[in-house]
């Protein structure tokens, strides 16, 4: 069993949660999202983000609008939808539960 596989399994679900959380504070262009995620060491390569954004958009949790750019091709600015917000709220709760669960289980181990 590879550690990388487990790590990526753990990150996978959380990544969507993180993206939605970032967009909760306002619309953003993928590079901004990437920067934040990179800082948080959630992703390593940029390619990870694009399929996720598209999937979230297809699930109608996100929407985008085109913005002309001086430096290159027009950019997609993503923003969260109503449905996305509800989804995020649910994830917030799930995350809190999970964090609690993890804290509890790891604590028990340490105490032993």
């Amino acid at each position: 069993m590879k550690i990388e596989n487990t790590q990526s399994q753990m990150r996978k679900g959380i990544l969507e949660y993180c993206i939605l959380s970032i967009l909760k504070n306002g619309e953003a262009y993928p590079s901004d999202i990437i920067e934040k995620l990179k800082k948080a060491k959630m992703i390593v390569v940029e390619g990870t983000l694009y399929p996720l954004l598209t999937r979230l958009k297809n699930a109608e949790l996100l929407q985008y609008r085109w913005v002309e750019s001086s430096a290159g091709p027009p950019r997609k600015y993503y923003y969260i939808t109503k449905k996305g917000n509800t989804f995020l709220l649910e994830l917030d709760n799930t995350w809190k539960d999970l964090a609690k669960a993890v804290r509890l289980t790891t604590k028990t181990k340490k105490d032993e």
Binding site: S31, I43, V44, E46, T48, Y50, P51, A71
Partner: protein, 510 residues
């Protein structure tokens, strides 16, 4: 200088170096392949392409073209599919950003001893490096050919410079299934093209028949192309192996002074003044024969490996080939010089004989002259460390005195009169007198051990009234003997001949 291509990435036009373009194309294909089962794969790809276009644009502030390093950096930022942490399951995970299409041979300069040839070969054949080094060392010390082989490979095999080349160098083992995979990839590519074409055609004509025909023909073209590629590779491997062996043999033979073909080389010993092939002729021969063979090998390598040889090497090889012409020409004229002047050496021996009849025959010494070197009817042969000439001519004429004389007239060539004379004097011919028998040797020896087109004419002078019997063993020796019956040499054998005023006359013929 690099060739660039223009690409349109997310609506932006870029100049990109051809090699960088290949890597970029591979990368995007890998992504395409990765997302092929994704619902909106086109959109994802467009997003990624857009981002890459942006990154490239940032990089092109001062320069105009995209280089391999740019592509490598940008693809590293974007990452390869195995780093994407997504759910998409694939038959095989792409290990590298740059998909290794097939293995190519490169010199590995990072692990080099001299030129990295051995390490490159080791990567290519997946055999431990040590073995190649041992093989080359053995070849170097036993026969000189190893050195030449190394130099050629050094020139012919490019060193792995870019990451892409390093990956290709260490890439997948080359075998039939890889080639098969290449063909399959090619087919997939084509399928994609056909699909694109379909869309166009359907839009324009709505004709399915045209689609179908187009599909079928393209499929065949693709299959044939794959087949030709495969045959080309096989042919390339064959040429390289065959040429390599040939080159190895030839260089070994010439460098080791012909020890392998000892018998043939003996001839050279008897021609050249120094006793061995002169170095300029040797080098000339190696280059003259070697360069075309190397060209064939390089052609073979090109077929298997797509190796391109720097044009400087090509020009160098052509120049060397012309040098070989010059070397061969000068050696040729040197040899020709040794045969430019002719001289004669005449010796006369008087034979004491009481009898009236002389029985002429040729000694039967049962010698087999091997390696006869035939030149215009005269033959020389190295025999028991002696140089032997055969093909003397015997004539019988009347003597001006009452004695029996044997006149030996030796002819030879040399670079001047004196040398020619010396060569002629070196001709040594023996005969025996036993009672009434005169027994000729069937060869003459050349004591200088140098062949200078020596010829020997023997003339037996007998007084009038004397009778000679010509034995059948003289068949190869007698030459145009004048006789009153006007008989052919061969018919004169086995008869008694009397010397008269008008020449020999047969006294035993009917």
């Amino acid at each position: 200088m690099n060739k660039t291509v223009n690409i349109n990435l997310a609506g932006m036009v870029f100049h990109i170096n051809e090699d960088a373009f290949e890597i970029l194309k591979n990368y995007l294909n890998t992504l395409k392949n990765h997302f092929k089962n994704e619902e909106s794969s086109d959109e994802i790809l467009k997003d990624i392409e857009g981002r890459m276009a942006e990154l490239f644009a940032e990089r092109l502030n001062k320069k105009e073209a995209i280089y391999i390093t740019d592509v490598e950096e940008v693809t590293a930022i974007m990452g390869n599919p195995s780093q994407y942490d997504d759910d998409i399951q694939h038959e095989e995970i792409q290990e590298n950003i740059l998909r290794v299409k097939r293995k190519r041979i490169f010199r590995d300069e990072e692990e080099r001893m001299i030129g990295g040839v051995c390490s490159g070969l080791a990567h290519y054949f997946d055999i431990n490096l040590v073995w190649f080094r041992i093989i080359f060392l053995i070849l170097l010390f036993t026969v000189g050919g190893g050195f030449l082989m190394y130099i050629i490979l050094w020139i012919a095999i490019p060193s792995a410079k870019t990451t892409a080349e390093k990956l290709e160098m260490k890439g997948k083992k080359v075998n039939i299934s890889n080639i098969e995979k290449n063909i399959k990839d090619e087919l997939n590519n084509l399928e994609q093209k056909v699909k694109d074409f379909d869309k166009k055609v359907t839009a324009e004509y709505g004709s399915k028949v045209i689609n179908f025909i187009k599909k079928i023909t393209d499929l065949f073209i693709c299959l044939f192309r794959g087949l030709f590629k495969f045959i080309g590779s096989c042919f390339g491997v064959f040429t390289v192996i065959f040429g390599g062996i040939l080159l190895f043999i030839i260089s070994s033979v010439l460098l080791s002074n012909g020890d392998i073909f000892l018998e043939t080389s003996q001839i050279f010993n008897y021609i050249f003044e120094a006793g061995t092939i002169p170095n300029n002729l040797k080098i000339g021969l190696i280059l003259f024969i070697g360069i075309p063979i190397i060209t064939v090998i390089l052609f073979g390598l090109k077929l298997i490996n797509n190796t391109t040889i720097h044009s400087n090497y090509k020009i160098g090889m052509v120049c060397l080939w012309f040098v070989s012409w010059v070397l061969l020409g000068s050696s040729g004229t040197n040899i020709a010089k040794d045969f430019s002047k002719k001289a004669k050496n005449i010796t006369t021996e008087t034979i004491d004989l009481k009898n009236d009849t002389l029985y002429l025959s040729v000694a039967d010494n049962d010698r087999n002259f091997d390696n006869i070197f035939d030149a215009k009817g005269f033959k020389v042969s190295p025999f028991e460390s002696e140089l032997i000439g055969i093909g003397m001519r015997l004539n019988i004429i009347h003597s001006n005195s009452s004695s029996i004389n044997l006149v030996k007239e030796a002819l030879a060539f040399g670079k001047d009169k004196q040398a020619a004379k010396r060569s002629a004097e070196a001709v040594n011919y023996n005969f025996k007198i036993e009672n009434a028998d005169m027994i000729f040797d069937d060869f003459f020896s050349i004591t200088t051990q140098k062949w200078r087109r020596q010829e020997l004419n023997i003339t037996l002078e007998i007084p009038f009234g004397m009778v000679v019997f010509l034995d059948h063993s003289l068949v190869d020796l007698i030459y145009d003997i004048k006789n009153q019956e006007n008989m052919w040499d061969y018919d004169m054998l086995g008869h008694y001949w009397k010397m008269e005023k008008d020449g020999l006359s047969c006294i035993s013929c009917e």
